[in-house]
Symmetry: C2
Subunit: 340 residues, 2 copies
């Protein structure tokens, strides 16, 4: 292994000069700089990351913590984080917490010590724990908001509004919501938005309940939607929507002729299934990129952390269509479970 010492010796300069030349610092003559650079190149010198990190105190690394790397939602964010980090000369240390809030906290602690900043994507830990970690000032959140930490989230309320407006415009009166986990921050956002949007006198959205945010959760929700006589189902995310689609098909209900389905997130597969899914597209990669930039912005201490909400957009595909003509004018479900 060739060290800076070797380069300095070969170039006939001191360690200090060699260091300055290579780190592009001032106080080196043009000739010396050039010479050192060439010598380093010839010797194949590669700076020792740990050594540099030890003195400078910076690791040139960002950490990324996600609940599940194999979930396309998080994978897309990870791709954005990774791309932006590379552009800014940093590497990415990634950790998958297997959707486990306890493991997540552990991981945040361990990873936090090794990076300049940490991007937490959809953290599962409770708010108070999150606040503790946020206090370090080196944390940025994605898809969750919390008082102490800067965050990138999505304009979920607007997405819900667009989705419901779309369905209403198609004549759907019996719209149902297949919700995500109660503990989920983003499910709470959707529900709040639904409660607001339905106040317009056009009728309420039926709450089918909370389901696991998976294909299986969607299967479960689909039966409830059929039983309730809904002609349209708005889903917590695309995975749930895919489950709804599959189950409706299996039960002989046609999509979109009999029942319309709307997803959330616009994951890659949403466009590839048949019928292609109408869904609310959220800029996942962009969120990852901006979260990385948020980490660099720790310039002004005690400034209130930035909460940025990225715009979303309903993408209309083949899973939504006008409500069937003879759809029931009266609701069959218990009014108790309506979202307010």
């Amino acid at each position: 292994m060739v060290t800076l010492r070797d380069v300095a010796r070969a170039a006939g300069v001191s360690l200090a000069t060699a260091s300055r030349a290579l780190s592009d610092a001032p106080h080196v003559s043009a000739g010396n700089r050039e010479h050192v650079l060439r010598t380093a190149d010839e010797l194949g010198y590669r700076p020792h990351h740990a050594a540099r990190s030890l003195t400078t105190g910076s690791t040139a690394t960002v950490g990324l913590v996600v609940p599940d790397l194999a979930n396309p939602f998080f994978a897309a964010v990870a791709k954005g984080v990774q791309a932006r980090a590379r552009e800014t000369g940093r590497e990415v240390l990634v950790a998958d917490t297997d959707e486990d809030a306890t493991l997540e906290q552990d991981v945040v602690g361990r990873l936090g010590a090794r990076v300049d900043g940490l991007v937490l994507c959809s953290p599962r830990m409770p708010s108070d724990a999150l606040a503790t970690h946020a206090a370090s000032g080196r944390v940025a959140l994605v898809n969750r908001e919390a008082p102490g930490a800067p965050s990138i989230s999505f304009d979920i309320a607007d997405g819900v509004r667009q989705a419901v407006a779309h369905l209403r415009a198609l004549g759907h009166r019996d719209v149902a919501y297949a919700g995500g986990p109660r503990s989920s921050w983003s499910d709470a956002e959707r529900r709040t938005a639904l409660a607001g949007v339905t106040g317009g006198g056009t009728g309420d959205v039926l709450d089918l309940g909370s389901f696991r945010p998976t294909h299986g959760g969607g299967v479960q929700a689909a039966d409830l939607a059929l039983a309730a006589g809904a002609t349209a189902v708005l889903c917590f995310n695309d995975l749930v929507a895919l489950g709804v689609l599959a189950r409706l098909h299996a039960r002989g209900a046609r999509t979109p002729q009999d029942v319309s389905v709307v997803g959330f997130d616009d994951v890659a597969t949403a466009a590839l299934v048949t019928p292609a899914l109408t869904t609310v597209a959220v800029p996942l990669a962009r969120a990852g990129r901006e979260a990385v930039d948020l980490l660099g912005a720790g310039a002004i201490p005690d400034a209130p952390p930035a909460h940025r909400r990225l715009p979303v957009e309903l993408v209309v595909r083949a899973s939504t269509a006008p409500a069937p003509a003879g759809s029931s004018p009266t609701r069959t479900a218990d009014p108790e479970v309506v979202i307010r």
Copy 2:
């Protein structure tokens, strides 16, 4: 920030003793060890990773390089790598190369300097470049084999055999292969296997050509399959198979009644689409885990690198069925493009 020096001072022992106590080394009295440990805990001591790395020469980090994090194939491998690394007390530095062979080489160089070992998943770089990097002895390959580096790959030949046998058993005589990129190592493996398996006198498999390994590639292949009168299509991977499925549906061909479709990899969505995809399941997460273990096994220098092939398994779902009764006994395609 609390350093080892602080702990030593607070515990009333020397730096050396404190270090030994915390790294669980011998030559510390039980009393002292206990006392140091407690003091460190009270002070909230966290070892400084860069400092430790500087002296020990080990980074407790593995690097992972993948062409595309958002591709579920690589995401699954990444999850395995991540899990195994955590179990063995290491972190994962991940890099996404955007399917770019040039960027990949660059990334391997930069990442390589910061990790103890590097897992290269489906590397796109040419063999000679791969050999150069493999010479460092700290590289493990996934889904590709090369002379100089240990690797984890899949028993693709067996997968192809199982898939073709399945289709033959269903009475399909006109089986077509929708191939992946010519430069792909794993496409070459599939073709070699196809050439071998079709020699059994049961007829050849028609080569539809090479397609981008995406949904779009599958759409393209589907039209060629229909034109060639194939009753079954074996696809390079699941993404291509999904494209084939979608296009067949759009063109009014029913799956599996008219045309059967088989994928490769058993990505998560394969089971979720309608009809559910028959596909060759490969143990992706396991491959990631074992690749990490391969990195630790640099014990015997100059030992020939291990090439391990993990078993695969055909998963029969709803996209394959007996060949239609009246399928043409004669082939309409040019015999030149048959795989040999």
